[in-house]
């Protein structure tokens, strides 16, 4: 205590207090902020189709915006609130629901990716030690997969649309990476950035990042096929299934590739590089300059 009292009037005391306060705020914030971890979604396991269950799920979760017959709704001025789902197809349903974008919670410029609601959450944890817990979780997961399949079947029954791609069409290991890189830079990078880190669009919209491992190859394929939200549709004549697989191969293999040059600085280009140059480079050298030009400090006066 006596030592702190003596240090209180040192020239650097003010800086030390500010630093300590910032560290404390950071620690408290980290403690309170919600943790968002997510396991890989397994999307498309086979489940028996049950149109009745699909319709029930639709009425419960979707009809309030999309209308009881999925015909879409408009507000009083004729501005669409939600689009018609007749003919959007199973791929669209699978993409929107398995990424948690639908059912939407809070209409805004763009629906964010989030945890799917419990009846459709196919990514829940099942590797519990206790038998009962594990069985309950496995049951819940199977039910979620069945629910999703039923909902897809119900929407498909209203009008045909693109189907969920088979696992062989989205396998990132068999795609042509070089072709995929070329196609990605030509068609996707202008919004999603050259390694799929995401980017800003106008009007509060954005191209979401594709670099997290929870963006599954199936979801990438479905997004290209159905063009959700601000994204254009890349149908099979624009990008053939082989092209789509090549793009998936490029994205997945690039995001799994380590950075040979050290820390990748978020792979967003020169903005973070400039920041690092100023903060780390100039920062360290200024500290070094202060050190080698420092006067030998006089000893603390005994009070």
């Amino acid at each position: 205590m006596r030592r702190i009292t003596a240090w209180r009037r040192r020239p650097w005391a003010g800086y030390a207090v500010v630093l300590a306060a910032l560290a404390a705020i950071g620690a408290i914030y980290a403690g309170f902020s919600p943790q968002t971890g997510r396991a890989e979604a397994e999307g498309t396991a086979a489940a028996a189709q049950d149109l009745g269950n699909g319709k029930q799920l639709f009425n419960k979760n979707c009809a309030s915006c999309h209308g009881l017959n999925a015909e879409g709704t408009k507000d009083a001025k004729g501005k669409p609130i939600a689009p018609s789902l007749i003919g959007v197809g199973a791929a669209s349903v699978d993409f929107q629901v398995s990424t948690g974008r639908m059912p939407a919670m809070n209409p805004g410029a763009q629906m964010p990716r989030k945890e799917p609601i419990p009846p459709f959450d196919t990514s829940i944890k099942t590797d519990y030690e206790e038998k009962e817990k594990r069985e309950a979780a496995e049951k819940q997961k199977a039910q979620a997969e069945k629910n999703l399949a039923d909902l897809r079947a119900y929407i498909s029954s209203l009008g045909n649309g693109p189907d969920v791609p088979p696992a062989s069409a989205v396998d990132p290991k068999t795609g042509d990476v070089a072709l995929g890189g070329k196609l990605f830079r030509t068609n996707c990078a202008q919004c999603h950035n050259f390694t799929g880190q995401g980017g800003a669009l106008t009007g509060g919209k954005y191209a979401p990042p594709l670099n997290n491992s929870d963006v599954t190859p199936t979801q990438i394929y479905e997004a290209m096929l159905t063009g959700p939200q601000a994204m254009p549709v890349f149908n099979d004549t624009t990008l053939t299934p082989k092209d789509k697989q090549a793009i998936i191969a490029y994205l997945v293999q690039t995001r799994e590739e380590p950075n040979p040059g050290g820390n990748g600085l978020g792979r967003i280009g020169p903005v973070s590089e400039g920041l690092a140059g100023w903060l780390i480079g100039i920062g360290l050298l200024v500290l070094a300059a202060m050190w080698i030009t420092a006067k030998k400090p006089k000893k603390l006066k005994k009070p």
């Binding site: 070089a178 890189g181 202008q190 800003a200």
Partner: protein, 546 residues
């Protein structure tokens, strides 16, 4: 020059040299030259040492780099690009990165050194500006510095354009647009520069020659001139104890300063080597080869071109067409006006200041920024202007990472570049004057000692003590302004230098420069408040809280 005598070791080695070269007087004079000591004097040295490292690593890179736009099909170590058509320049950069031993490290050190070179020049220029070190007799070195910064921008632009990757091609595309936007001659200039339609075969070899030969040569010459002039004029010093206008107070070049600056070279090299080893920069293999039909989100230039990028991004789309000619103000204005204001303003500032203040004396001791409020405030206004344009260059990254509206950001900066500098000027000037008042208070009444006194009638007050000698010297380095001679003397004859419209302008500017100056001086009978005598000290008395 200082009176410091050299230690025995110095004299011995000087004698050795003298026996062979007969240069005692020259060596004695120069080896014992005194350098003042302050951390901010080292900022320019970062630039010097980064430049040396740039030359060394750059030479290494030229051994493998092929400045050619010849189309090749890649088949190398980075298998994700196998079978892709690209230019020889891009392919050889991939080769340097993945197949040459230590190639990627050298590339990264080279690029980081370029980033630090420009950053340290800017930091150094800010230090020079805010301490008034550009004043007579050092205006020439200030101009050389601005020239080097400008050349450095070009050098950097040409350098990162060489690998012909997607990002650098985008930068060249903007360079082409800017060249084309010059009225009347733009198209001819662009064809002359690129040797035909964009991108053509010629641009990379041409940029290569300029990048490795012409501009480094120019910069090297300017660095030499800069150093020789500095050596001749002696470095400015901070207003510390023992420092006078006539005599530099510090350490002799040999051995103290030489050891320090040698160590600092090693520091610079070390930091650059660390960054080159552990922080990835310009991953051209991820950008892919340049293709005029492709672009990536977040396509920004290196930081020193960011101010131009920002100006371009927030510029409204103005364009006029007359008599079959289009003038693209939407490109021309952002490319020329903002940096034109900053560089021209910086270049003429020393002369304008000397004209306004009428100060034609030599200055070897720096001013504390607070003691020249108008200069400091103008500098901060320029920093704000530059900084806002710079940040605006990253508008899409900001919008994406902080979930902001892109148009909102753009409009914020469109308004901000006009209001921001004004606010910065006013606020900075107020802060400077506040600090002057605080200085006046310390000299007039002493410093708070942290010792609480109790008077016989039970009142508490804090004892004030005179400031330490070093602090007093620094504070008293302020030059209080003298009232300028009245515009007209008693007989109605105008003072010289205030005649005519220019003279009026000058005296008005002079008044603006000096009118709110707060005198900081010692009183004849300085009373150091011992507490308990009302008045000013009364304010300081407060109840004891413990």
């Amino acid at each position: 020059m200082s009176q410091t005598t050299a230690p025995q070791s110095v004299d011995a080695s000087l004698n050795w040299l003298d026996d062979r070269l007969g240069s005692t007087t020259f060596m004695k004079r120069n080896l014992k030259k005194v350098f003042p000591d302050h951390w901010s004097f080292m900022l320019g040295e970062i630039a010097l040492y980064s430049f040396i490292i740039l030359l060394l690593t750059g030479t290494f890179l030229t051994l493998w780099f092929q400045p050619s736009m010849q189309e090749v099909v890649y088949n190398g170590s980075y298998t994700k690009l196998n079978g892709v058509k690209m230019s020889q320049a891009y392919a050889s950069t991939l080769e340097i990165s993945f197949d040459v031993r230590g190639g990627l490290l050298m590339r990264q050190i080279h690029h980081w050194a370029a980033v630090l070179f420009m950053a340290s020049i800017l930091a150094h220029m800010l230090r020079v500006f805010f301490t008034g070190a550009y004043r007579k007799p050092r205006e020439l070195n200030w101009l050389i510095g601005i020239g080097m910064f400008t050349l450095g921008m070009l050098e950097g632009l040409f350098g990162y354009s060489l690998p012909d990757d997607l990002l650098s091609g985008t930068g060249l595309r903007i360079t082409q647009g800017v060249t084309e936007s010059i009225p009347l001659v733009g198209t001819y200039l662009y064809m002359f520069l690129f040797g035909g339609e964009f991108p053509g075969q010629d641009i990379v070899p041409r940029l290569f020659t300029i990048h490795v030969l012409l501009i480094p040569g120019l910069i090297l010459g300017m660095v030499t001139a800069h150093m020789m002039i500095m050596w001749h004029q002696k470095h400015t010093a901070m207003p510390v104890k023992n420092q006078t206008e006539q005599q530099v107070y510090g350490y002799p070049f040999y051995p103290v300063f030489m050891a320090k600056t040698g160590a600092y070279f090693l520091f610079t090299f070390g930091v650059l080597a660390l960054m080159g080893a552990f922080v990835q920069i310009n991953p051209i293999w991820l950008f892919g080869p340049y293709d005029p039909g492709a672009i990536s989100a977040g396509s920004q230039p290196d930081w020193y071109m960011g101010v131009l990028e920002g100006a371009l991004r927030i510029m409204p789309n103005w364009e006029i067409s007359a008599w079959g000619h289009t003038v693209s103000f939407n490109v021309l204005i952002p490319a020329t006006v903002p940096l034109g204001i900053i560089f021209t303003g910086a270049a003429v500032w020393p002369f304008v200041e000397a004209w306004v203040t009428g100060d034609k004396r030599h200055h070897n001791v720096n001013t504390r920024p607070r003691n020249a409020p108008v200069r400091t405030a103008t500098g901060m206004a320029a920093v704000t202007f530059y900084g806002m344009l710079w940040i605006a260059g990253a508008n899409d990254v900001l919008a994406d990472k902080f979930h902001l509206s892109m148009f909102g950001i753009t409009w914020f900066f469109r308004v901000g570049i006009f209001i921001g500098p004004y606010l910065a000027f006013v606020i900075t000037k107020r802060i400077c004057l506040g600090l002057q008042r605080k200085d006046a208070n310390i000299i007039g009444h002493g410093e708070e000692s942290g010792i609480i006194m109790m008077s016989p009638d039970g009142r508490y007050s804090e004892r004030h003590e005179p400031a330490r000698e070093e602090k007093r010297v620094t504070i008293l380095s302020k030059e209080n302004t003298r009232p300028e001679a009245p515009a007209k003397d008693a007989r109605g004859i105008p003072a010289p230098g205030s005649k005519g419209p220019l003279g009026h302008l000058r005296s008005r500017l002079n008044r603006a420069w000096t009118f709110d100056d707060i005198p900081v001086e010692e009183h004849e009978h300085g009373e150091h408040g011992e507490g308990g005598h009302g008045g000013v000290e009364g304010r300081e008395s407060r109840p004891l809280s413990r």
